[in-house]
Symmetry: C2
Subunit: 451 residues, 2 copies
């Protein structure tokens, strides 16, 4: 019998080669031009599950991108773990800032550079390879199911229906997800909470055509100025979000507050890492509190008027912005959505029209830290990384997690291997090879500990 460390050593070259192939398929779910590549990526995932020894592999079509299912059922009486992940990736723009093309993965300084290397192809791959080891070495003592989707980056638009439609097939005790971070290479951590997400696109409509700013300037509302004024009103001078009822239900126990102070945080290093002159956030909270326990509001994109080189004296007909909010436990996304739409429209002067499109509205999540599964995971990280993991409420969102919990009763367990410096959603995304292999180890130990 080969232990996992030896297995990885023996198969290192093959495993890395497969991952680079996985990363080279441009599975950008948000952009129609990549539709075929997304489908090709689904097939790649299905093939790898099959090669690992999985059964009942099936690629389910949806009205969007396919969902890959696979399983290995040992004994229905044994606990069942449902592995969820996504093979789709974020768009790559601004493309000019990538040092290496995003879909031509390369290895530099023991890191793999490619879109999706950390979020989430690299982490999905960890699970497929742990699964392969357990099957090849006949070490499986739990049932394992896989649901790997292709629409996480576009709010998992078809996954909820899939879960509800296949409730019996997906039944599990635990939903295991690796789409989060550890604190740093030497400080493992388990994510015990996630922020929810509400995402909107707003359109401000002024005149029916672009106007000459000389002929109309000062007499007609400019949709860009108006949009800016409306966005500015979404926060007050203390950086509190002004949407009515936005903070209703938001609270933090003293125990949780104490845990946050344990998270290592170095302000100087934090500022240097992203080269900012100063941090900025809601008055009265530390950076870690802001990230893990407070809701936030960001404009993710803005556009309007003349944006090419040089000058054009125009009052544009329209201006647009993409605005999203990260939600924390206690906030109701349906109410937030209703309140945002009503409030944002109320901020508009009579001189413009407003359209709002909702992309998503999902609640935050808190996971238990006193379960058998949590203990198995904590011990697994300790064995792989040599240090007991901290429990950390995460700042990001995986909207679908709540649905697995609600529909299947499968308690979520967030065992991530990313780093916040992996530049996910940014140019030059990368993933450390050490974390790839330690990740596979950790997952194998987790299944062993579950026995």
């Amino acid at each position: 019998m080969t232990n996992i460390k030896s297995y990885l050593k023996q198969n290192k070259k093959r495993i890395l080669g497969e991952l680079l192939e996985f990363l080279s398929i441009p599975s950008v779910s948000a952009q129609v031009k990549y539709k075929k590549d997304v489908a090709k990526t689904a097939k790649f995932v299905a093939d790898k599950l099959k090669e690992a020894g999985g059964q009942n592999i099936k690629t389910f079509s949806t009205s969007g991108h396919p969902i890959v299912y696979g399983e290995k059922i040992i004994n229905k009486k044994l606990p069942t773990v449902l592995v969820y992940g996504h093979y789709d990736v974020q768009p790559v723009d601004p493309i000019n800032l990538w040092i290496n093309p995003p879909f031509k993965p390369i290895i530099k300084n023991n890191k793999i550079y490619a879109r999706g290397s950390s979020d989430d192809k690299g982490q999905v791959f960890i699970h497929i390879k742990a699964f392969e080891y357990l099957l090849k070495e006949k070490k499986m003592h739990t049932n394992i199911k896989f649901v790997i989707e292709g629409e996480e980056e576009i709010s998992s638009v078809n996954l909820e229906k899939f879960i509800r439609d296949h409730k019996q097939k997906l039944k599990a005790d635990t939903t295991l997800i690796s789409d989060t971070e550890i604190l740093n290479e030497n400080t493992p951590s388990i994510t015990t909470g996630l922020r929810g997400l509400a995402y909107f696109e707003v359109e401000i409509i002024g005149p029916n055509r672009d106007l000459h700013s000389g002929l109309y300037g000062g007499a007609v509302a400019n949709p860009i100025n108006t949009l800016c004024e409306m966005i500015a009103k979404l926060k007050n001078k203390n950086k509190k979000i002004t949407i009515p009822g936005f903070y209703d239900g938001v609270k933090l126990s003293l125990k949780e507050k104490n845990e946050i102070t344990k998270i290592p945080f170095n302000l100087k290093k934090y500022k240097k890492q992203i080269n900012i002159t100063d941090i900025e956030g809601e008055d009265g909270f530390s950076t870690m509190e802001r990230l893990c326990t407070r809701p936030s509001l960001d404009v993710n994109g803005v556009w309007g008027g003349y944006i090419e080189e040089g000058s054009k004296t125009v009052i544009p007909s329209k201006a647009h912005a993409k605005i999203s909010m990260r939600l924390v436990p206690g906030q109701n996304p349906k109410i937030i959505k209703k309140n945002f739409i009503k409030y944002f429209k109320s901020l508009a002067p009579k001189s413009v029209r407003v359209n709002i499109k909702t992309f998503h509205a999902s609640a935050a999540l808190l996971t238990p830290t006193n379960s058998q599964e949590y203990k198995a995971a904590s011990d697994a990280y300790k064995k792989a990384f040599g240090k007991k993991p901290l429990s950390v409420r995460g700042s990001a969102s995986i909207p679908i997690t709540n649905i697995f919990n609600e529909v299947l009763g499968a308690t979520p367990l967030l065992l991530g291997f990313g780093l916040d410096t992996d530049a996910i959603h940014s140019p030059n995304e990368h993933f450390g090879i050490d974390r790839l292999f330690k990740g596979i180890e950790t997952i194998v130990y987790f299944y062993e500990n579950l026995n």
Copy 2:
């Protein structure tokens, strides 16, 4: 001897054909890819001046686009008129809103649709054809000089140096410019003032790369939110511009105030024409006062973050805006520029960096209404349009006008034939054929009246 009406009748087809050819060359000065086309357009202008019978035609190279010069000197003792205009045009975006391609001119409902048809190729062409008539019919009793440039839409970056370098050659009593509007088809008007222009591009710099809004949202300044907040502060709730000292020197005489009330203005029609729900502007002023006598501030373009389809949860590294101000008599553009840069930077929080680029800063203009030239022009419009023209302070800017005045001592005379509904700087720019021919008539009568 043929009078101008008969001449135009006999030559209508040829004249229209030449104008369509002129309009079909894409002379967009702001975009490098059109550089050759801009040069080709300069040659077209030079050729037409030559064919008309002009002398000393020369195309002067500059560090940007060429300047075309031509003249006909009858007798140095006679008055000299310097015709100034521009053959370059505004960019065409948003291109998808053009019903017909911008550089494939067509005639529909007695109007010519093409970029530059009104601003300013069509109006430059009026002068070339009036010149042609006067020479062919031997009716010239004034000296005429032409300066037709290719950089008006990018702030005439090389023209001031050209004027100073060729001070003797360009010497004239009057600078005649047709790059403005009449009130409507049946209400001719002479523009007796222009607003100045200050144009800036601002850049707000946050983190050194795009960040994941889940991992950083709420803890780091978002350059888009910051930009919006800074732009919002440029006007107060009464829509007064808040730049310190901005209104210093701005005033309006009672006489001018009275003249403005004479300008026909129908609010309902105005709103309907551009399909706005309401007008908006500085408290305490009418729409015509806002347009003709008050400075304004508009964001002409804004961009940052993810602006493609769907959602991307990103905090962008940078956000940008193009911001311009229309200035009125009394405002000093150098002081406005200095104050804007200082003030805008002061609006930035410590968490971001700010860069500001200045594209232009030029003063407003007032022209005399009691001169012999003004009377000649007024009588010319009356003869061509059948109605005495009103005197109107215009809202747009022709920055170089001040330089002609200052360096050459050539009093500006703004005899425009555009309409504010010509959609200049917008998709589907057009120019009425009636105005083209009445324009040529008016200019011919003007020269006759000057005797």
